[in-house]
Symmetry: C2
Subunit: 425 residues, 2 copies
Amino acid sequence: MSSDPKTEPLNRRRFLGAAGLAGAGLAASALPLRAQEAKPDPLITEVQDWNRYLGEGVDKRPYGTPSPFEKHIVRRDVSWLTASPDSSVNFTPLHELDGIITPSGLCFERHHGGIAEIDPANHRLMIHGLVDKPLVFTMEDIRRMPRQNHVHFLECAANSGMEWRGAQLNGCQFTHGMIHNVMYTGVPLKLLLAEAGLKPSAKWLMLEGADASGMNRSLPVEKALDDVLIAFAMNGEALRPEQGYPLRAVVPGWEGNIWVKWLRRIEAGDKPWQAREETSKYTDLLADGRSRRYTFIMDAKSVVTNPSPQAPLKHKGRNVLSGLAWSGRGTIKRVDVTLDGGKNWQSARIDGPVLEKSLTRFYVDFDWAGQELLIQSRAMDSTGYVQPTKDELRKVRGVNSIYHNNGIQTWHVRSNGETENVEIA
Amino acid sequence: MSSDPKTEPLNRRRFLGAAGLAGAGLAASALPLRAQEAKPDPLITEVQDWNRYLGEGVDKRPYGTPSPFEKHIVRRDVSWLTASPDSSVNFTPLHELDGIITPSGLCFERHHGGIAEIDPANHRLMIHGLVDKPLVFTMEDIRRMPRQNHVHFLECAANSGMEWRGAQLNGCQFTHGMIHNVMYTGVPLKLLLAEAGLKPSAKWLMLEGADASGMNRSLPVEKALDDVLIAFAMNGEALRPEQGYPLRAVVPGWEGNIWVKWLRRIEAGDKPWQAREETSKYTDLLADGRSRRYTFIMDAKSVVTNPSPQAPLKHKGRNVLSGLAWSGRGTIKRVDVTLDGGKNWQSARIDGPVLEKSLTRFYVDFDWAGQELLIQSRAMDSTGYVQPTKDELRKVRGVNSIYHNNGIQTWHVRSNGETENVEIA
């Protein structure tokens, strides 16, 4: 499904200071209560159709789908980013979700040769190269090995990448939606490598997919022996086709491109492969023309999902600010939120499981009297790392890269509740 | 989708002792490795179609669905339990799932007047009765109140209820599949009640649904003020229609029938309502003809999901035994497993998050040489409660009830790997 998020000249929405802001004092205001309305509400006083007539029975939807009233909640691509849909990306509708689990049907997709459709009976995983015993596993072989369950975020290195030079895309689905968070079930890669017997000279592994692009990346052996899973299930059921069915790599905390999907081959070697995806792509071009390479880890980052440009404020009075924070280096320790462009900060309420290398949900319950807001969130992780501003990041990394932009996002809420992607100097 | 699980005369599969068992000694056996086969595997040596041709692009599945190779993994009803599909039940395919999250599309359903299809803009929740200020909330009102996320199991009181008199249904989907485990997002009921102001005389609440059956149950105020959520989201997205969209009660650890779906009304009173669902239904008929009523809490229970009748053993050598345990009184502390009908027990490996009133996943990694097995699991919760045998339960509760059967399940694995629901004396 395509959409056309507003694309405007760079810096069009850059604010010079927080001049538009009505001030930080937020008036308390009572919840409008229908019971206090003068005339009776027919939705209460009259019997409704759904209370009068029998609905569909239990045998109608053997595999369920969302309500038709939710059909606008979908992954979306961006037309000007999608020259060819079989080598493109779509985005998770973060502003419509809650908690920390992304439903499998809404996990953003990125592929390079379209979605490989593989019969699991015909899928094989080969391990070879610098090993004592080259091996080939069937899916049934893998499913008979000891398995684990872990919840992890997967973030594309290019998430927020269109924002390096200024505020550009008007919606957190597009600025931050190349991320999802899933409970994976799989076999630790170290167990598969132990079967094959890694030779001492093996320092890197090459992971390769079975898709039409034969997508491949080099993975250091230390990470492979640490926490990498070879996963066959997500959120309890089989991987979705667009997420690598029947088998993918799960590389906790590291950029999504290395989580190779439709995984068919692991080769052990003594150096990285210099694959296309780690030389011409997925390197960080710096201001002086040099490139950072093998920048695997996704640093701490956060985004306010509500309000946001696709989810404006609609009511004065009480409101819920909701957002997500994550770190590839551990757990989220704290999230601070400002409503006035940085004059005042408060610690958000973190709710729900706080897991390693996982999305973490935060809330600020606040009253809104209709004044303009400049909203930001700032994540801090278990290593003490604090999410930087975009300008702090640009000082170190320039503006040439499209990868690893974890700068602080700003939303401007107007007095009518409409919300826009901006930057403040 | 209907199926016809084998229905046989009661006690048909009851074993007298464990005479069929080949003994508890389990021989170690190597994983069959394809690399050791004599002839090359063309699935490795030849380029496959999915590696040769581009697949579907990112804009094809805006809300994703499982692989066509997984289309047999669905909720199923049981024809002889489904006189009318709009007042019936279907079952979660537990033997096809892993981890602790049930995908929303596979959560078992039970309803009494079909699936109410409600436009959330037209849904109202009324709170009245023994309150200071009767209130009506819209969905937007509710979504602006402070919310929380919790993972909880929902188990129908009748889960395993067809097994009271003996082994009957051949598959854990049917013996134990009236359970699912979901991350809910919602507003604590105590916050809604605080808005309305509960009078001191209010001791019970009546929860009522907006469906064609107007399903209702009485809930003690103490539970309402403890951990009940009024939820609008499950697994990150809106509730599914068959799970009460747009609003349901989440009553952690208590029988599913009281988790009222399509929730439209909460009335505060000084005693229970004696509703149909708590008098003629959802009471436990004892051997002496008396009934236990308001038996809300689901006690500790477990089931081995793999192997099981729908998921037989297929390979000698290493195998994974997988199962689920839960308790309505707290967390799961330990799960013991026997492979020889109770002669020898071992503690299972508990994996993944261990949460309050949530499904907990356990595994036993074992080798199988082809001998017959009698597999049982036994859960222990954080209160020290130990899951009873079916016979221990029958001594106290008789065999007239169809509710609250948490007895230990037995699977008989034959030497060809086929697995059957049995009981051992």
